[in-house]
């Protein structure tokens, strides 16, 4: 039963990442990344042990609170302040993005079968699914135009890395996890400020136009 729950969460993680590849609205991106934050937070609770320890519950609440609520709040504030509502012309179109997602999924399964990593997770899906999420996050960073969607791509990447770490090492010291969370928090914060400045200077947050700047 626990494995079924864990598998469902992992599949939902990849599905929501696919949702980002299809959708073009920044508001949808933010909602999806909030949902992913909650799912990633629940992941350690359903992975392995029948009864979650106090330490796990603490980490889970911290992750859900930060990734599920604080980050989306910061991001939607950045979105409110900018005039952009949707990702206009991504460098790679939506259909090709979905095909990339499918390729990433197949590639992750293939790589997982070749690498034979020592998985501590009860689910066989944990590593390939986490890897797909990482790849999709990277893809979002590379192919999307606005600064905001790049931050979101970074968060997806981070979610994937977290799920991957959970599959490889089960027990992580609380301090380490909180340190990583803190890093991500600072990153999102700094990027939020960067978005704010890009917005104020240029009236948009299309980073492609930064290429044409002259000194």
């Amino acid at each position: 039963m626990m494995t079924l729950l864990q598998n469902t969460l992992l599949v939902a993680l990849v599905l929501t990442s696919f949702g980002m590849l299809v959708s073009g609205r920044l508001g949808v991106y933010i909602r999806i990344v909030a949902l992913q934050g909650v799912m990633v937070g629940l992941l350690p609770l359903v992975a392995g042990h029948a009864v979650p320890t106090l330490h796990l519950v603490f980490v889970a609440t911290a992750i859900i609170g930060l990734k599920g609520f604080v980050f989306p709040y910061l991001l939607s504030r950045a979105l409110r302040e900018s005039k952009t509502r949707r990702e206009m012309n991504p460098f790679v179109g939506h259909l090709s993005s979905v095909f990339f997602g499918i390729l990433a999924l197949l590639g992750s399964f293939w790589m997982d079968s070749r690498l034979s990593l020592q998985s501590h997770s009860s689910s066989e899906l944990a590593i390939p699914m986490a890897f797909t999420t990482i790849l999709i996050g990277l893809f979002l960073i590379v192919t999307r135009r606005t600064a905001l969607s790049q931050v979101i791509g970074f968060l997806v990447l981070e979610n994937g890395i977290y799920a991957f770490g959970l599959a490889i090492v089960y027990e992580v010291p609380v301090l380490l996890e909180l340190g990583v969370l803190m890093d991500v928090f600072v990153a999102v914060f700094v990027m939020g400020i960067a978005i704010y400045h890009i917005n104020r200077e240029f009236d948009h947050m299309d980073i492609d136009r930064l290429n044409t700047l002259r000194g």
Binding site: M1, L4, N7, T8, L10, V11, A12, V14, L15, F18, V22, H94, L95, V98, F99, G101, I102, L105, L106, F109, E124, L125, P128
Partner: protein, 307 residues
């Protein structure tokens, strides 16, 4: 011989009840819109009325146009007899019949498109082009979806798939089956030209797909085409309802009643989707269908991993 009676009865049930689904969908839409709506049996009345009329044929049409409704209906009946109803096996079953099932539907589509081109109307040619474009995207989704069902249950016939789909399969490969269901539902809406993809109510709209291809049919031919459309609704819907109902291990009359209830619920769901969603613009339809394909691909890789 008596072993065949129940399966044949289930197929006959499909033949009789198929037009009812259309009535249920339209009634649901009417309730949502606050209208009284047409009677539940309206599709039957339409069919009887059309059968009484004479047919008019354009001079440009050839035998393809005349043959298409008959061939379409025949291939649908062929698909119907391959389809089990939850616990009851199909009248005809052999290893690999799922491919025949999918391509019986393909034959229907081919002849509908050929007949539309046969009329020589550029308007119908446009519809044919759209139909082929979208079904080319819907086909991988249904093929991979059914393939993942086959792989999850290790069986190559539709009857085998649904009879060996125990609750255990759902526990083992639950996420994958849920994805297949979602993909099949999108294909179901696309193939039956329901709302997010096509609007069955519009005539002479530049955005319609299925309705435009059958514009030149009249009288008994139109009745065959309409009846075929309802049968297609039944056949593809039965695929979805079977995936959901099979683990409950029902038998006999009880099973049939649950199945019919499931079909009616599915029609209500379609009605709700149609009332709540707007039709997506023609350029965005491929996005929806590619989503269905990716759901099927994910399901298929998951199933391969689970087994």
């Amino acid at each position: 011989m008596s072993a065949l009676i129940l399966p044949i009865m289930t197929s006959l049930m499909g033949l009789v009840l198929a037009p009812l689904l259309l009535g249920v969908i339209n009634r649901t839409k009417a309730v949502f819109a606050g209208r009284h709506g047409s009677p539940l049996l309206q599709a039957y009345f339409d069919l009887v009325k059309l059968l009484k009329k004479g047919a008019v044929y354009s001079r440009t049409t050839t035998w393809v146009f005349h043959a298409a409704p008959v061939i379409g209906l025949t291939s649908l009946v062929a698909a119907l007899v391959l389809l089990p109803v939850a616990g009851v096996r199909a009248p005809v079953t052999f290893a690999g019949d799922l491919v025949v099932f999918i391509y019986a539907l393909g034959l229907l589509r081919f002849f509908t498109v050929a007949a539309a081109l046969d009329t020589g109307s550029s308007f119908e040619g446009m519809g044919a082009s759209r139909e082929v474009h979208f079904s080319a995207l819907a086909e991988p989704a249904i093929v991979l979806g059914v393939a993942s069902l086959a792989s999850a249950t290790r069986s190559l016939s539709l009857t085998g798939i649904f009879s060996s789909m125990t609750p255990n399969v759902w526990i083992e490969a639950g996420p994958a089956l849920a994805l297949v269901l979602a993909a099949l539902f999108i294909v179901f809406l696309a193939e039956n030209s329901r709302i997010p993809i096509d609007d069955p109510n519009t005539h002479l709209e530049l955005t319609m797909i299925h309705e435009v291809m059958i514009l030149d049919y009249s009288g008994p031919d139109l009745a065959l085409v309409l009846y075929g459309a309802t049968l297609k609704l039944w056949v593809l819907g039965a695929l979805i309802v079977n995936v959901v109902l099979s683990p409950f291990n029902l038998t006999g009359i009880q099973d049939m009643l649950c199945f019919v209830a499931g079909m009616l619920l599915l029609s209500i769901a379609v009605g709700i989707v149609e009332s709540m969603m707007a039709r997506t613009s023609l350029l965005k339809v491929p996005r929806l269908l590619v989503t269905a394909i990716s759901l099927s691909v994910i399901a298929f890789t998951l199933v391969l991993r689970f087994r």
